[in-house]
């Protein structure tokens, strides 16, 4: 068990201040929460975040003062808890630049990068202020003359994905909805995985078509059971609403946020400890 297996501490240290990160999962499902908390503990700054729909992940990094910019279609706690308070405050106070996107334009920007193109045409946006506000420009299709919005490529430094299964080399399977994780892995320069379970390579040989991310794209693999908590992760656990509520209670102050991060520290690192134990 060696390969790319990395401790949570070391994996988070790969991220530099100012990096553009694509965060996997959606809303409160299969989010790389343990990794996010570790970035906050390591006091990373000026991060730029890309995601279709964020919640705890984007809000916690805003609460920690780690975010300079977001490129998102939605950030909120849905009908569970409503608006994302720290994200909201960060934007309203001018500390966080919210680049307004539709989820489809986030996807288009990631597609441009994945396809090796400078931009990607996208349907929709007609009548919306989003294009003018964000600066999306139109081009004329050379065949039909039709006007179409072109979304500039979004090339994250890392896609940070919490997957259900990975091997030590970084082959990854995602059970349940994969959301934009696979696209993010193709759009980013490199991929950091956190995984519920570390499996032997034979697990992937059995059904290679189920391997969502091949090892050659992946830089680091962290064993992080429970790594999406307080979000849910199929088939292992559901969203822990009480724990999400506890986070929201704590996110308003630096001390309470520190206490929140401290309270998760041991469980966040437990997988790394177990893996190094295996090696010994």
């Amino acid at each position: 068990m060696a390969g790319k297996i990395t401790s949570l501490t070391e994996a988070a240290a790969l991220v530099q201040d100012g990096d553009l990160l694509a965060l996997g999962g959606n809303a409160l499902t299969r989010i790389p929460a343990a990794f996010i908390r570790e970035l906050a503990r390591q006091e990373r700054e000026n991060l730029r975040l890309v995601k279709t729909a964020g919640a705890y992940d984007v809000d916690l990094l805003c609460a920690a003062g780690a975010v300079a910019q977001t490129q998102t279609g939605y950030v909120g706690f849905e009908n569970l808890f409503g608006l994302a308070p720290s994200y909201r405050r960060g934007v309203e106070e001018g500390r966080v630049q919210a680049v307004e996107h539709a989820c489809s334009t986030v996807i288009a920007g990631l597609r441009a990068s994945a396809y090796g193109l400078p931009s990607q045409p996208v349907a929709g946006l007609d009548g919306s202020d989003v294009a003018a506000h964000t600066g999306f420009r139109q081009a004329r299709d050379p065949y039909t003359g039709e006007s179409v919005f072109m979304i500039p490529k979004i090339r994250p430094r890392f896609a940070v994905l919490h997957v259900t299964y990975a091997d030590a080399e970084g082959n990854a399977r995602i059970d349940g909805g994969a959301f934009e994780d696979v696209l993010m892995s193709r759009a980013a320069e490199s991929v950091i995985l956190t995984a519920e379970r570390i499996e032997e390579t034979a697990f992937f040989v059995e059904k290679p078509d189920r391997t969502a991310v091949p090892a050659f794209m992946v830089q680091a693999v962290v064993h992080a059971p429970g790594g999406a908590r307080p979000g849910g992760c199929h088939p292992f656990y559901d969203i822990d609403e009480d724990a999400v509520g506890a986070y929201l209670d704590s996110a308003s102050g630096a001390e309470s946020l520190r206490a929140h991060l401290d309270s998760w520290e041991a469980s966040d690192h437990a997988g790394s400890a177990a893996v190094s134990g295996d090696v010994v």
Partner: protein, 250 residues
Amino acid sequence: MSVAMREGASEEVRATADRMAVFLSRFIRDGELVFHGVASALPMTAMVMARNTHAPNLTYLNIPGGVDPRPSYLPGSTVARQLMEGALSYFTLTEIFDLSARGKLGLAFLGGAQIDARGDMNLSFIGDPAAPNVRLPGGAGSAHILPTARRTVLWRTIHDAKSFPERCDFVTASGNVDAVVTPLCIFEKVGGCLRVKSIHQGVTADALRAATGFDLGDLERAPTTPEPTGAERTALHAADPEGVRLREFI
């Protein structure tokens, strides 16, 4: 919201939630491809119940990608894994956007914090977008889906003059709006403008005018929205026995 809080919801809130879920479901046509997104407890409830009333052949699309799921229970998050349960195929959000772009998405439900006289919606900013008073969550897929889906139905659980202004502070999305369902009335979009289609039982024309920030014209002949039928109530409570729909009213 805990079970205790749901049990504590007032009769008025319960009645409004039930009506809105039922009224949303009535816009679903049997056999249609229907989508709801994030933060959509009412449309999720409406779609699940419509399968057991008038639209047994609807195709249910959602963000996790489970096509026609049979969730063991309705989750509080409408992108949760329960929306993969019982599904027979997998169709991602990216593919749903592409489907809509091709003109094949039948109906989408989309929420707005502000919905204006033209039926445009705002989920982005309140106040000046350059220095907003309130940063809202963002419109998710709405800027793509409103203009490309064949039909969309909007909803808003608060009906007041701030929520229904003459013009949105920021137009997050604009497009093929069929109807808007609110706690007080149903609007339809006619000739590029919202018009009252029906007023819910017990709501006076004066109260509706006072709660709306744009001119409603002549309401003399506006009919009363038919109350949920016994069959609709039965289907609603079977679809959502836990009252997840009430979460939209926290």
